[in-house]
């Protein structure tokens, strides 16, 4: 009986081997989305726990890594959904030049804040596609959707972000 079959039968040794093999990949994927190492570790543990709990749903001839990554993505989306910044930021006059590094840093923080207020699914698609520059098919696979749907989410994220920044009077340099 191979490793994945033993895992689906609930053998803890097989699961341990899979955890050691895939924990780094799951963590790397999660931290790219949530961008916080501590949170990413907690979510990786939760992902692996859910993976074990859902072992009966996994087909031994399937791709374990892709399946685990999809579970991790859903957990990361839930985390972002429940941890959106509540406060909106005060508007500042548009068109103000920003040569000062301190002002620039503040602008970046405000852009981050505006980005974190986007709907979680748009945020994840935009983070992976624009910030991490990962291939669209890889993102689509992890989100369990089509490449077209990912492109649409990225488009909507950019449009919403631009609108939000414009309303707050933020002009990225």
């Amino acid at each position: 009986m191979d490793l994945l079959q033993r895992f689906t039968h609930g053998e803890i040794d097989a699961f341990e081997t899979l955890v050691r093999q895939f924990q780094g990949d799951i963590y790397a994927w999660t931290v790219r989305i949530v961008r916080d190492p501590g949170v990413a570790e907690d979510l990786t543990v939760e992902t692996l726990w859910r993976v074990y709990r859902a072992r009966h749903q996994f087909r031994p001839d399937g791709n374990f890594g892709a399946w685990a990554r999809r579970i991790a993505t859903n957990l990361a989306i839930d985390h972002l959904r429940h941890n959106r910044p509540e406060q909106s930021f005060p508007a500042e006059p548009a068109g103000v030049p920003q040569p000062d590094p301190l002002v620039q840093r503040e602008t970046h923080q405000r852009i981050q804040q505006a980005f974190r207020r986007l709907p979680a699914k748009l945020q994840v698609a935009a983070t992976l596609a624009l910030v991490e520059e990962l291939p669209y098919n890889e993102i689509a696979d992890a989100l369990g959707t089509s490449v077209g749907a990912v492109k649409l989410r990225v488009f909507r994220a950019v449009r919403l972000l631009r609108k939000c920044l414009s309303q707050a009077g933020i002009r990225p340099e």
Partner: protein, 80 residues
């Protein structure tokens, strides 16, 4: 007109937004700092110790029955 401008995105605009986001979100370290197996094992053990929902439902149902029909306590005590 303004809405039309908002909706119309050129590839250049996309690139500009990508650059802006990349500047605002510094790269994260993707290497895992420690082995998480013990944490996973601890979580598995903790969840397995928990009482399943149907046991709680049985306890609740028994409590309701004993409140509604107190004489059942004697009957159950006799059979125990």
């Amino acid at each position: 007109m303004k809405e039309h401008e908002d909706n119309y995105m050129t590839e250049q605009n996309d690139r500009h937004m990508r650059d802006t986001l990349k500047q605002s979100f510094p790269p994260v370290k993707t290497e895992l700092r420690r082995d998480l197996w013990l944490d996973v094992l601890r979580k598995l053990d903790a969840r397995q110790v928990g009482v399943p929902w149907y046991d709680w439902a049985l306890v609740g149902l028994s409590a309701v029955m004993f409140l509604a029909f107190p004489q059942l306590v004697l009957l159950v005590a006799y059979h125990l």
